[in-house]
Assembly symmetry: C2
Homo-oligomer: 421 residues x 2
């Protein structure tokens, strides 16, 4: 794709966004419902296109775990449609007002408005195409969708269905565009598009995110990297603790909100470790420090290795769990703030003061008390879909729904006021 054609896409998106910003909620919801119908009616076409992508991936020897990320099926299309439905049902994030009147009578209204034109750069999963589009549209933003070349046929079919739905529903089809070249040059042009793209969202592996953060000349929302911890205190409900750790590790190990390191307070190790070792034996490799290793026992099938320093900083995204004994809440908080990625962190305790201290002192988007870290997700939070999980503190943090694509504008209404001082 040449500069020229990408520039013309930028222009089209800007022009479409200017119109979309003026649309009412009714008009936006009508268009999105039409997109739901269009996606529903395009199932065969989308599955055929996705089949071609999947076949090509398998032929190229891509691992099945990655092929699964690429895969569309009826259930996943159902989920996409349900996601759009949830977004439709949500309040319009645009046009919310809070205001106040100055002593001289000026009325100041802080009003939410669309952020503008967004770009999302993502890997494999084609459902992201529809999720990101529908959030952007409802928030009044045009969006450039830059998926991976491995999912190009799938994404083409989905974007075709989106544009047809928008057209049929009185919407603005030009508010969504697929970047199709698959080249790194294309990404670089997006990252350099100051004044053309208002925000770029990288969503995918660590390498992609780093590349975008390092190279972008436009605002970025960093997403996804999750080196998450669960810290267990003595006195916690240990049966529930084993359930929670098992869930956070095993239910979807490749997710960014899966747990990677368990921190056990010294006086809890003797009770927790045997339970945990038994629960995870044969399913998860444990990488323990000396104290947690000594307490783990040796249930059949347990794979237990000595933890290395590098394990504390690794997002395994696999059936591997690092375990470390700590002497205090302070040590747990320090470890997390040192090695964590500010994503999702949990404490399991019955001590209210400890829970409060942990939540206040751990620097992360999501801090949990007595629950699995796996809930950090736009869908689970009730947002319908998500643009990703922001691990930065600037502009957006945690699971990003509609509000991440808004900004404010002050409207000031007067009757001739001038400034005296």
């Amino acid at each position: 794709m040449s500069n020229v054609s990408l520039d013309s896409i930028f222009e089209t998106l800007r022009e479409a966004q200017t119109r979309l910003a003026l649309e009412t909620r009714l008009a936006k919801d009508r268009a999105l419902r039409s997109v739901m119908n269009s996606i529903n009616a395009s199932r065969a076409e989308m599955l055929r296109a996705n089949g071609a992508d999947v076949d090509a991936a398998r032929s190229a020897g891509v691992k099945e775990a990655l092929v699964d990320r690429l895969l569309l099926n009826e259930e996943r299309i159902d989920a996409v449609i349900r996601g759009i439905d949830t977004v439709v049902r949500q309040e319009d994030p645009i046009g919310r007002v809070r205001g106040w009147t100055l002593p001289n009578g000026l009325l100041i209204e802080e009003t939410t408005v669309p952020l503008g034109v967004a770009a999302i750069i993502y890997e494999s999963r084609p459902n992201v195409t529809a999720d990101a589009f529908c959030l952007a549209y409802k928030a009044g933003c045009a969006i450039l969708l830059r998926g991976s070349s491995a999912a190009l046929e799938s994404n083409r079919a989905i974007v075709k269905a989106i544009k047809e739905g928008l057209g049929a529903g009185g919407g603005i089809p030009e508010a969504a565009a697929l970047a199709e070249s698959g080249s790194r040059d294309e990404v670089d042009l997006i990252l350099a598009a100051r004044g053309k793209i208002d925000v770029v969202l990288p969503r995918g592996g660590r390498e992609l995110i780093r590349w975008v953060v390092e190279n972008a000349r436009i605002p970025v929302i960093e997403t996804g990297e999750g080196n998450c911890h669960i810290y267990v205190e003595a006195g916690a409900d240990m049966a529930k603790a084993a359930d929670i750790i098992e869930n956070a590790k095993i239910q979807k190990p490749g997710a960014c909100n899966a747990v990677e390191t368990v921190l056990v307070r010294r006086d809890a190790a003797a009770e927790l470790m045997p339970l945990l070792a038994e629960r995870l034996a044969g399913r998860v490799e444990l990488r323990c420090d000396a104290a947690s290793k000594a307490a783990a026992g040796a249930p059949p099938g347990l794979i237990l290795k000595d933890a290395l320093e590098s394990d504390w900083e690794t997002e395994f995204l696999d059936y591997i769990l690092a375990v470390k004994v700590v002497d205090s809440l302070d040590e747990a908080v320090e470890h997390i703030n040192r090695y964590g990625t500010k994503h999702s962190e949990a404490i399991l305790t019955r001590d209210m003061e400890a829970a409060d201290s942990f939540c206040r002192r751990v620097d992360a988007a999501c801090v949990y008390v007595n629950a699995s870290t796996r809930f950090t997700d736009g869908g689970e939070f009730g947002f319908g879909a998500e643009l990703g999980i922001s691990t930065q503190k600037f502009h957006a943090r945690g699971p990003m729904g509609l509000e991440a694509l808004t900004t404010i504008k002050y409207r000031i209404r007067g009757s001739g006021q001038i400034r005296m001082l």
Copy 2:
């Protein structure tokens, strides 16, 4: 200043911010009141230090307008103290909560927390030192103050008073630090401080802001550049229009919220232009297009030149006003969205529909109806002080008070919840 010493400042600020984040509103307000007392008690010392800066500037042949920016006097110190008082009286921006409960019983609380460690890079005006500090402190943020070398003695005296006040009031003196080298290297080290500084605010001239935006590897909030417009429709109250334009141009021409171009609808030119020409004659140079020039007449003392294309894009910051006739609201909006800097834009009209359309379609932080653009200011808005005027849409927009230095954290409280799907 070597890298080492700046790095140790970064570390001290981080450590102080970690403690400050846990302070109650009572503790923060007590410390800030003590800073008010300390600044009040240090007047002589601050004025002496400022006298040295002012003398040095005059000796170096600095223009009086710039010397005035540097100047402290009793009234300006009064204003600084009043600003801190207003910030003290404001609600704590930290610890605000909104939450909801998921179907499985998980309670999700979105809580406001401090953004972290801020850096402000600013020119001349020493009052910015105290303004930025007090907003940061109330928002639980540590701050690195990097003023201009021309104001070094003044800033040293102010920061000394701040730290003494914090010490006497049970606060955290390490939460404020002055960067003193005056070198460009120091700025570059701040801009590269990923993970050490959470946001940098450039506040000053166009060159400084451009440098920071182009070179920062950390989040930036762009401030200040204001190529502001006032658009006048037929049917507007023309006497008020002349008052507003005069005020927006003359009351403080060097301010970013001063008007630079007036757009006059063709059917309003015959009524407005003679009034405006008479009002501004001898005080403001007009740079007019042919139509507005023809309508202006020739009152005694009027300086009237032909406008050049470059005038539409210039922030004069001077007694110069560009004037252009437009044929429609659309043309006015297009002109503003093309040449404006997304700062402050006004429409003067009696037509409700035109006012609404203008406010919705002009892309700027502040849009005014029938009032002077000069109100875009944290103090005028009631924020007590301001960190600057954000002209970007990301994270903060318009006059920045306490909220610009906050972010959110999700606290999730459960009783053993695990994720099923």
